[in-house]
Symmetry: C2
Subunit: 349 residues, 2 copies
């Protein structure tokens, strides 16, 4: 016999009332509700998720898809999302595409990704999806819409999908303008590796912001001052070695597209006997946990907030309040620490 039945008997009501009382529905008298809750507690009764889902069509479970997992940024986003979901009484099912494999291939060719869309999402396992830094193609979007499940993207914008995006262009400008306002004129840029475009052409966007900032300050962009790296400390280190070793250029500052690369830059500078910020200013993007330790000036993009906001958004969609603006801007903030300062050499025009 369905266990809810026992509770109903103990409380002297029908199963319907038990269901309603435990679900917090309004149409139950306070007295009855109390009686039901007492009975449930007494019997150690907890609603069966599968039965409930089957009957109601809702799972109280939302899926989060990320390209990678063992990365500071995605971790943070995930962490933020998990918190928010927990507080809302939802479970979080994790799905990650190990983007390292086959992200260069067309989406359909990544087996994990195929599976995500062909099985995972259709199984009624989740009520909605949060896709982090994922560019869904048309077929995938149709697939989602066909299921009638809300999708929220973090890191868009993606046509037709509610998206939380951060203004990468503006962030890059902010970082670059910070250096310019300190008086720097020879500003190098360690860009994200364009082959590594998980996100929405993020490397290109940030680079564009950098170049725009330069242009607007009347500084000519020198291609020799731009290097690509893979978003890691090691990558930033190498790129900086190249930059500082090249006799044709003499950067007084580096704007790295991620904090890890910026930290690599600081370490490289030190190894070359240069002082930061005396000989070289460094600014990054992220708000990485290590930024404080390395006294790194950075543009914090609050990844945990991104996760939390995505959850709020998706829950709204589930409530049917989908009449909101399709896109939301995520917050960011310049955090000035000791890795940036005015250039030591006299400024030049």
């Amino acid at each position: 016999m369905a266990k809810i039945q026992k509770v109903a008997e103990l409380a002297g009501v029908s199963t319907a009332t038990v269901s309603r009382a435990l679900a917090g529905k309004p149409s139950v008298s306070p007295t009855t509700r109390a009686r039901v809750e007492k009975a449930a507690k007494e019997l150690g009764y907890v609603v069966s998720a599968s039965a409930s889902s089957l009957a109601s069509g809702r799972t109280r479970n939302i899926g989060v898809v990320t390209p990678l997992l063992d990365t500071w940024f995605y971790m943070k986003v995930l962490s933020g999302a998990q918190h928010a979901l927990l507080d809302a009484g939802y479970d979080l099912t994790l799905y990650h595409l190990d983007a390292n494999l086959g992200m260069d291939l067309p989406a359909q060719a990544n087996p994990r990704r195929r599976r995500l869309f062909e099985e995972f999402l259709r199984r009624k396992r989740v009520d909605a999806l949060i896709a982090v830094s994922l560019e869904l193609d048309a077929a995938e979007l149709d697939s989602m819409r066909g299921l009638g499940k809300p999708v929220v993207c973090v890191g868009g914008p993606l046509p037709g999908v509610p998206t939380l995006s951060i203004d990468d262009h503006a962030i890059a400008r902010l970082a670059t303008d910070h250096l310019l306002s300190l008086g720097h004129r020879h500003i190098a840029h360690i860009a994200g590796d364009p082959d590594f475009e998980l996100d929405f052409h993020l490397p290109a966007t940030r680079r564009a912001g950098y170049e725009e900032a330069l242009a607007e300050s009347g500084v000519e962009a020198d291609p020799l001052l731009v290097r690509s790296a893979d978003f890691t400390i090691a990558g930033g280190y190498d790129a900086t070695l190249q930059l500082l070793g090249d006799p044709r250029v003499h950067p007084t500052a580096i704007f790295a597209a991620s904090d890890e690369m910026a930290i690599g830059a600081i370490l490289a500078a030190r190894d070359l006997g240069k002082e930061v910020p005396g000989d070289l200013s460094v600014v990054g993007i992220d708000g990485h946990d290590l930024a404080d330790f390395f006294a790194l000036t950075t543009v914090d993009q609050f990844p945990e907030v991104q996760g939390r906001r995505a959850v709020e958004r998706v829950l709204h969609e589930l409530d049917g309040d989908s009449s909101e603006p399709a896109n939301e801007e995520l917050p960011y903030e310049l955090v000035v620490r000791k890795s940036t300062a005015a250039p030591r050499a006299p400024r030049e025009g």
Copy 2:
């Protein structure tokens, strides 16, 4: 009408056969199976997870509980577990206790933790649990056993629960012996913060291994050579500053209980103008992604493998093959890089 019905009709069989065919049961003729699969594909049919769970009692979903999320180690374990589960066709539901809050209180006092056991696990949401670095108390264990769901712990041992544990004592000995064998006699230890005992008294165990190794080599342990830190780079940095600044001791090597602390030690040494490994050897534990970059000698504990192994184990339990040894040892390996070398000063007796 149940969707499976449509498939049944299209394939000209009963729903029972469709169910069996799609579940890969053996008692279906190849011909029929093919017909069913074709029909299913044609209709875009996918089994409803909730209906399936309700009917079968299985969810094909397993829960992973970690104390923290935004930490390199748990990330890696999680990543390994997710991979393995995906390959086995299982979903992974994430639950993390934000151990920062209330981990010092008795288990029952942590609200998240209460909730985990009182709701999450009883809801028939998961078939089994993997608990990472979590010390369950008696009530919690009973709770799990009462539900008849397998639990596997990573980082035990825990009485009565299959556990994958790493021999922290041996790891610490290995690291320390490595330094001893290079000729070091003044070996400092940066221990994990004992107030931060998420895992099973890991800091104490590692410290014990360190002391035992010293003792066995006839080196007297000096309490002044042991400092505690919080497992972070910053923590390791500070501890090293203390260690190297203390006029009463002159360590030629440091064994840090985590790679991050070891990296902090390397950075601190550099800042004090000491060379690594010339003036100071440093060894860590973890196999951190950054170890290679910092040329850090470490004992790799393969966290991703830990995640994977936990999954394998739990799936075995689900298959009923619970006749295995209760505890398994996890692999570890000394990886020698350039942060350790013989002490520069002549050895003393």
